[in-house]
Symmetry: C2
DNA sequence: CCTGTAATTAAGGTATGCCTTAAAACTAGA
DNA sequence: TCTAGTTTTAAGGCATACCTTAATTACAGG
């Protein structure tokens, strides 16, 4: 697999996890990559020939067992490098993703396994996402999206999507992993969630609040 | 610069150092890469447009100041990764080069500088080659080629070319950096140098003995 | 100086991975 | 069922970085 193919299987895996649907639509892939639908179709055809994906016209693509293994290898490399870059080199939180994105394509299995041991066999990356083991097993995090909280909830951030604009967004507001937010208000119609963090109020759009996961610590709201 | 361009400027730099000539011939580059001369010419034209090299027809290419800086950046990345892979991950000596070759193209300046500090600002890589500093200054090693020794010399290996077949060759014979060789015989006509190492005799062809550098510790031979 | 060899340039080709435009095939809602 | 809109396929293009074959240009030794 070359870089392009690696990016595709990884993206297909991540989008499938995010939507909960094993099949990912061609058009959605195109949108995520910023590529044309035609380009994505061509690549899907190629990945299918390599038996990395199963393609059902008008339904989408789904990773084969081989494709899933490759995707998890990339994710493993990505998250292990993030841990290294953060824990050992002290790189800024919002810079981790981009750097790991480059390194993940330049890492052999041998280096990966040694890096894993060197870092103390970490279970999660610096964005709280689980690191698959060498066999392709990955923990399913129990945390819930911030968007599913209610006014009055105290919410501890345990995990955020590894998505550059989101990291920049949170970083800019000085919001970090394990920080606690107090949900002030949830506007269901507008989709805006207002939270308090270190005395400051922040308005999170729905798509933002859906990429932040954690646990509700306590709630002042009345249970129904 | 993309990977191909990075490989070219690095190769031009290394060949210039090796030959002592600032200008590197198109045909020699082609041979080293295993590419056709035409392909090399095309890339030289491109590098010239980017002002990374100076091209004198029938003479060769020479790095510009910008090109030299880029080449040293790649060499810096390569050698720092080698130190990391060896010192921290415990990778085998002969595996370092290949792994570093991939990582060097995936490393930003920011990561490089932090890695440098993390590794304790090393002066040389695990093959004994000097690591350039962030400003592009590089030490000129004083060691002499093994091929210039004479029968009876005791020779300590301080540096070897970072060239995969050579590393495999030495590794296979269990010869490592800082080991001491006793020169048994030098056949000037045939170019074979016979050395003793840990009680075993090895015959080194000229081109091999020219890629191994070190210092003569003592000599049993009579000075002229 | 002149000719053979080496180096360069030219012309056309391949694979990869992206693009646009257009036609064809399918799905799903009215 | 039938059509509107989505999805797929087809056809042709572009850039990169390699390739081969062939023509041209320059250098250097006799």
């Amino acid at each position: 697999m070359n870089k392009a193919e690696e990016d595709y299987v990884k993206m297909i895996y991540e989008m499938a996890v995010l939507t909960g649907e094993p099949y990912v639509k061609t058009a959605d892939l195109a949108e995520q990559f910023g590529y044309s639908v035609q380009s994505v179709n061509e690549m899907i055809k190629k990945l299918h020939q390599k038996e990395l994906v199963d393609f059902r016209p008008y339904k989408g693509v789904c990773l084969t067992e081989g494709g899933r293994r490759e995707a998890l290898r990339m994710i493993r490399a990505h998250r292990l490098w993030e841990v290294f870059l953060s824990e050992r080199l002290g790189l800024a939180w919002e810079a981790l993703h981009e750097e790991a994105e480059m390194l993940e394509h330049a890492t052999s299995e041998a280096v990966l396994e040694r890096l894993y041991d060197y870092l103390g066999r970490p279970a999660v990356c610096n964005h709280g996402n689980p690191i698959p083991d060498a066999e392709g097993n990955i923990a399913r995090p129990a945390s819930r999206p911030l968007y599913e909280t209610h006014a009055g909830d105290c919410f501890r951030i345990l995990r955020v999507q590894d998505y550059k604009p989101l990291l920049a967004y949170l970083s800019q507001r000085n919001i970090k992993l394990h920080d606690v937010l107090t949900v002030h208000d949830k506007d269901h119609f507008g989709g805006i969630l207002t939270v308090e963090h270190l005395g400051l109020k922040h308005a999170f759009a729905k798509h933002i609040a859906q990429m932040v996961y954690g646990e509700v610590l306590s709630s002042t709201r009345l249970k129904k």
